[in-house]
């Protein structure tokens, strides 16, 4: 259905511009004559011209032979490696709000179609010393600015994107697991066997009520608010046997200016996500706050700062907790 102008004379800028704009625009403008050619995939030049409409309202005319079917890949692999231009993604986790319900993990698994046995975002109990209060600690991948994992990757399968995301190319990964040894936060997971692709059922109304009672004291955990995309925009992030995977900061959502699954899954509004360049982070309720202000007001810190990895995830200390403290049961297991 999607078409692309293949004009040898057009310069690159125009081609890029057209590729983006024509995906939606052209179909309307290309008449029945043009569509036949597009669907048949032939390139015979019968001299017929079609008019295409660009997003900014320009009408262009081109030969039907210049029309080519575009693969259904919203984001190219090169773009996936580069990242979203102009962005610097950042996450802030408010430990005073996290009550350890684990919905971030549930929604993350749903978003990425991974089974319960995998946890891209983990919730663990922490107690820094015996007399200090225990608290819940949410741990996604920190997408470090000085990532120890990408340094050791021998084939550039895990890499740092311009938008701050540390991503994994599972068509490239050779499965040496050096990144797992190098990551001090145990953020990485290996597909020891053929990974399960789980199709989570849409929540019915009944389920939602069950869910509400089971989480966050009725603060409004609504699973349906989390959108599940069919195919990730970043194609090579999919789970594959013999490859490493981890939290990816939901770049396919970010491309649509939407929040990651863990953020929209957190009924306690404990997780903020946003763009450092815009100095703004947003939580599930849609409260958008100034990043720098939040970090300053709440004396934010980064986990194991002394390692020098420069994480992109900040924590707000569990001061004035809004939940019951954990009982540190997990310590034994």
């Amino acid at each position: 259905m999607n078409t692309e102008i293949k004009n040898e004379d057009a310069n690159n800028a125009r081609r890029n511009f057209l590729r983006k704009s024509l995906i939606t625009g052209s179909v309307l403008a290309v008449g029945a004559i043009g569509l036949e050619k597009v669907f048949s995939g032939e390139k015979a030049d019968d001299g017929k011209k079609v008019k295409v409409l660009t997003a900014d309202g320009k009408v262009l005319e081109t030969s039907t032979s210049n029309l080519k079917e575009l693969k259904h890949t919203p984001v190219t692999d090169a773009e996936s490696r580069k990242g979203i231009p102009g962005k610097k993604f950042v996450m802030v986790i408010d430990l005073a709000k996290c009550d350890g319900c684990g919905h971030c993990t549930v929604e993350c698994n749903k978003m990425h179609h991974i089974p319960k046995s995998k946890e891209w975002i983990k919730v663990i109990e922490m107690q820094d010393s015996p007399k200090e209060a225990p608290y819940w600690f949410v741990k996604p991948c920190f997408h470090c600015d000085n990532p120890p994992c990408t340094k050791v990757c021998p084939v550039d399968a895990t890499f740092k994107r311009e938008d701050g995301i540390v991503a994994i190319d599972n068509d490239r990964c050779i499965g040496c697991r050096f990144c797992m040894a190098a990551c001090p936060y145990s953020a990485r997971i290996f597909n020891w066997s053929e990974p399960l692709y789980v199709e989570y059922p849409k929540k019915s109304a009944k389920d939602t009520t069950v869910k509400e009672t089971s989480c966050c004291g009725g603060s409004g955990c609504d699973a349906d608010s989390v959108e599940s995309t069919t195919a990730p925009a970043e194609r090579f992030f999919e789970s594959k046997k013999g490859c490493v995977e981890k939290c990816d900061f939901c770049p396919h959502m970010a491309r649509e200016n939407k929040l990651p699954a863990c953020v929209t899954g957190c009924g306690m509004d404990a997780i903020y996500f946003g763009d450092e360049n815009e100095d703004a982070v947003t939580n599930k309720s849609g409260q958008t706050v100034s990043l720098s202000q939040l970090l300053e007001d709440r004396a934010a810190y980064r986990y194991l700062e002394e390692l020098g990895t420069k994480p992109r995830v900040y924590y707000l200390p569990p001061y004035n907790r809004q939940y019951a403290k954990p009982d540190m049961k997990g310590e034994k297991s």
Binding site: V152, P154, C173, C176, M180, P184, Y185, S186, G330, S333
Partner: protein
């Protein structure tokens, strides 16, 4: 005197050539059993390729297991070639001649299997060529690949160069061997006739390669150590790791060559070439290396234990008094302290039996220690392990790993055996040179007059 030397030289030539094609004790049983174990390991690997690494005991916390431990072990014993051929050469040690080729054969076989282990450990071995097409030089894995490949090439040259005059001798003197072997000997001897110019070239080549191979060997072991030392993990991230690996490797290599030598001495009836003296001297070498390795261990574990950093203490508690206590103290006591005691006693060191016992203990300790270097650290990550899926927070190798590991050892042994079926165990021309320069006693020819020890003569016309 001149006459006697000539006579000795003739006898040396005859005896050492006779090891080729000579059947030693229980040869068929050995080769059969080792081949079976190796084939079973290959089968296990095919099974692992089909099923994925899930058939191993490794999981997300212990993401490196037996394979990486064995990589470190095989890399370790491969250092013996550089030790015997290079270090002893520079120090002008006269008793080294009978050891040279054995050491090089062990090195060559060990470094080959060291290269195989990481491939077995890969999730996608079919993507191995990505290291060339997409390689990134800042990754220590790439350094390791380059170092192992370089060291393998160097060892191959180091094995081959001193073999050339012997091959020429085989070409000229050996009869009753297959046509292919005749052709192979001729081909590999590359027209060696023993002219002074050829000798000069050979000597120069060997001098160069023996210098080049030493930094190669040290870099292979150091880089292998860096695979774990360059991470942010408790117990791994220590600047001691490089020397710890190098000297652990020298120690394991010295133990390995004692064991191989003992087998060859009896198997090939070379009692008067590989004598008590060699075991005594190598025993002394092993004593020194074991004592130094004990010293390194005291540094590696004692320093962080005194400092008492929280994560280190938890890890050391587990290692010394927890899960791994038995293995740890076995390594320290049986693998280091007892061998040191045995080898310190002159009377015991003079008996081959005791030197071999010490070497077996050191060897066992060295293998277990590689396991201890890798696994306990992985069970102590910086972020505490909580709510782990059952089986994810422990590690014990599965039958697949044991089978592949055993195949590594048997393949290594098999390769050494096969090398000595094709080539003389002891370098003939260097031994004869040694006789000319230093006299027969100095180079290790003992009991020459004892006819009982004389080997059988096969395939030989003087």
């Amino acid at each position: 005197m001149e006459d006697k030397n000539h006579q000795v030289a003739n006898q040396v030539e005859a005896e050492l050539l006779s090891t080729i094609g000579q059947k030693y004790k229980n040869e068929k049983i050995w080769i059969g059993v080792l081949t079976l174990i190796s084939l079973f390991g290959v089968g296990a690997w095919i099974y692992q390729l089909k099923q994925g690494l899930g058939v191993t005991g490794m999981r997300d916390y212990v993401s490196w297991g037996l394979y990486i431990a064995l990589l470190f072990f095989f890399v370790g014993i491969s250092l013996v070639g550089a030790l015997i051929s290079s270090v002893l050469r520079f120090t002008g040690t006269k008793w080294r001649y009978p050891l040279i080729r054995i050491a090089e054969a062990v090195t060559l076989s060990a470094i080959l299997f060291a290269g195989v282990m990481p491939v077995l450990d890969m999730g996608h071995p079919e993507r191995l060529y990505f290291l060339v097409t997409h390689g990134r030089i800042q990754s220590p894995i790439l350094w390791d690949v380059l170092a192992i490949a370089t060291y393998f090439t160097g060892s191959l040259i180091f094995f081959y160069l001193p073999l050339v005059p012997d091959l020429a001798l085989m070409r000229d003197k050996l009869t009753g061997i297959s046509k292919f072997r005749v052709w192979l000997n001729k081909f590999m001897a590359i027209n060696w006739t023993g002219t002074p110019r050829q000798h000069k070239l050979l000597k120069r080549g060997m001098a160069i390669i023996s210098i080049v191979v030493l930094p190669c060997a040290i870099s292979v072991h150091t880089i292998s150590a860096w695979l774990i030392a360059l991470t942010m993990r408790t117990g791994w991230s220590t600047s001691l790791m490089g020397p710890y690996f190098v000297f652990g490797a020298l120690m394991a290599g010295a133990a390995m060559i004692i064991l191989v030598m003992a087998n060859i001495r009896y198997g090939y009836h070379l009692q008067h070439y590989i004598g008590h003296k060699h075991f005594n001297y190598l025993g002394m070498l092993l004593l020194g290396l074991t004592a130094f390795y004990l010293y390194l261990n005291i540094n590696k574990y004692g320093v962080p234990a005194f400092v008492g950093e929280k994560a280190e203490v938890e890890y050391l508690q587990d290692l010394m008094f927890g899960h791994f206590a038995f293995a740890f103290w076995f390594v320290i006591i049986a693998g280091l302290i007892i061998p040191i005691i045995i080898l310190s006693i002159g009377k015991l060191r003079n008996q081959i039996r005791w030197v071999v016992i010490a070497a077996i203990l050191v060897m066992g300790g060295a293998i277990i220690n590689r396991y201890l270097i890798v696994i306990p650290n992985m069970l102590h990550p910086l972020v505490p392990i909580q709510h782990a899926i059952p089986g994810y927070a422990t590690y014990s190798p599965t039958w697949v790993e044991w089978a592949i590991g055993a195949a590594g050892f048997s393949g290594l042994t098999l390769l050494i055996i096969l090398l000595f079926k094709a080539f003389p165990v002891i370098t003939i021309w260097e031994t004869m040179e040694g006789v000319e320069h230093d006299g027969q006693e100095v180079i290790g020819l003992e009991y020459m007059d004892n006819p009982k020890l004389a080997p059988r003569y096969e395939n030989y016309e003087g």
